[in-house]
Amino acid sequence: MDWEALIVSYLLGFVLLNILLVLMAYMTWFERRLVAFFQDRIGPNRTGPFGLLQPIADGVKLISKEDIVPANADRLIFLVAPLLSFVLAPLGALVVPFGDSITLFGRQINLYVIDINVATLYFLAVGSMGVYGIILGGYASGNRYSLLGALRSTAQVISYELVLGLSLVGIFILTGSLSLVEILRAQQRTLILGGLELPNWFILSQPLAFVLFLIAAVAETNRAPFDLPEAETELIAGYFTEYSGFRFSFYFLAEYINMIVVSLIAATLFLGGIDGPFIDGIWWLVAKAFIFLFFYVWLRATLPRFRYDQLMGLAWKVLLPLALINIGVTGLVRLWGIGAL
């Protein structure tokens, strides 16, 4: 066994996790400032310059609060569920390629933690596991609002996961691989269309899949306008009604880390990841992911929440058929050799 490669992978993973945690903290600041801007308010600006120390103050506050366990809670599951959510959230980032490879201390080091040939499926699998934190938390709280939130989230995540997975099949057909590294390489090629040189990004060849992925990803991360599991106005925060202190903060962290990971994956799958004009590099990936994060906040500030049956109808009656049509068309195009690369 190649121990050195293993250790390097672990180190990379560790670094990545810490970066994600810091990013997540500032994502909250970013969101609050941005939403405030949308709503013609100011937002947090007192703690530190531009309120930049606000996330740290929030963190300290949450950790120092009392950890309350309701009397009729299913104690063990109640304690474990938020951890589950939190641990699973950053795992998806492990397969994102942040670049090719660099030479450091005489060793060639790949700028991704792992390249498995089922990377995209792995991302979906981790996402599907993440729902357990929500269901179990909602169930264990012994509270009807929480239970309703958990049930909603179950149905929602299962429905939208189908759309999420099916929207990617077009890309698999075009690249012939499920590995994110391979998909990235396929996008680094150049497409020449009537004298016009275009990057071979999949947003151009799979625009429908991109839209579907975007919608499903928002639903999958339980964000507005699909935030029914935690709908404040009807469910009093849904599955985490009963949580307080740092256990609450775990759910909070998980939600934001999920957003960041999904943005990174979306940027890699559809926008060419690190590919860009001038010099390829990680900055392009960050910039693209930032666009998605902005989009998330923009949605939240703009759209009202869906009604439950609209949410389900949208997934099963609109998005799923569209995804299937997209797969069929892509397959035919590939079969007839027009899109073969």
Partner: protein, 240 residues
């Protein structure tokens, strides 16, 4: 090599312990969670065996979808309605226990005296690597040698879907309303699904279409239609 064997024993041990937990737990939700744990360990064993696709498929399908649905059902059913898991007559339990023990002995004997035969297939690790990985290898096999079973499976699932759709389909609007008036329950706090926990035949007749919440703790009064609830029609549905 030794480290892989060690990892295997660790994973297998946890998987078996979790599987035992499924049977021994008194709370059905705990059983389901144990099952998830067992499945994840089995998936990890697949990874050790270099069957990544199988591992991920196991997680997506079994833990990500099937057990989630099991939990869904467990949460919809009221806990006191569930049958006693560890009940039963003592004699019956003893017979069951002995039969289980006999089966276990048989399986143990079979495993201890096993002799696996058959030549190794053509998919050696090199052949798998040559086509690009085990997804590609599985894809090739499925859509050439196993074409007929794949198509038959598709038909099987179609049949299952038709059956499930018929059994789970909400009644026609008028019928559904009649049922709803008698039950006064709604599922997931939305006005469409109707939760028929009690058999309709055994319920009191509707009182001339009046919406009158009867007693009991499950008494959420519902709107007659989704349109009454809000002004928006559902996605993909035209306004009636």
């Amino acid at each position: 090599m030794a480290i892989e064997v060690l990892i295997f024993y660790l994973l297998a041990g946890v998987a078996i312990a979790a599987a035992a937990g499924v049977v021994l737990a008194r709370n059905p939700v705990h059983s389901a969670v144990s099952l998830v744990l067992s499945f994840i360990n089995v998936a990890a064993i697949y990874v050790v065996l270099r069957a990544e696709f199988l591992a991920v498929a196991q997680i997506i399908v079994y833990t990500g979808a099937i057990i989630v649905l099991v939990l869904f059902v467990l949460m919809l059913v009221q806990q006191q309605d569930l049958p006693e898991f560890h009940g039963g007559r003592p004699l019956r339990r003893a017979v069951g226990f002995l039969l289980g023990l006999a089966l276990l002995a048989e399986v143990a004997a079979a495993i201890l005296t096993r002799s696996l035969r058959g030549a190794p297939g053509s998919w050696t690790p090199e052949a798998v690597a040559a086509v690009g990985g085990n997804i590609q290898a599985i894809g090739r096999e499925l859509y050439s040698a196993y074409m007929l079973p794949i198509q038959a499976t598709a038909l099987l699932l179609l049949a299952a879907t038709i059956g499930a759709l018929f059994l789970a389909r909400p009644e026609l609007v008028e019928e559904r309303l009649a049922v709803a008036r008698r039950l006064f329950t709604i599922s997931l706090a939305h006005p469409r699904g109707v939760d028929t926990l009690q058999p309709v035949a055994e319920l009191p007749a509707p009182q001339d279409g009046q919406l009158k919440p009867a007693g009991g703790d499950r008494s959420l009064v519902m709107a007659r239609t989704a349109e009454e609830f809000t002004e928006q029609p559902a996605w993909g549905e035209s306004r009636r």
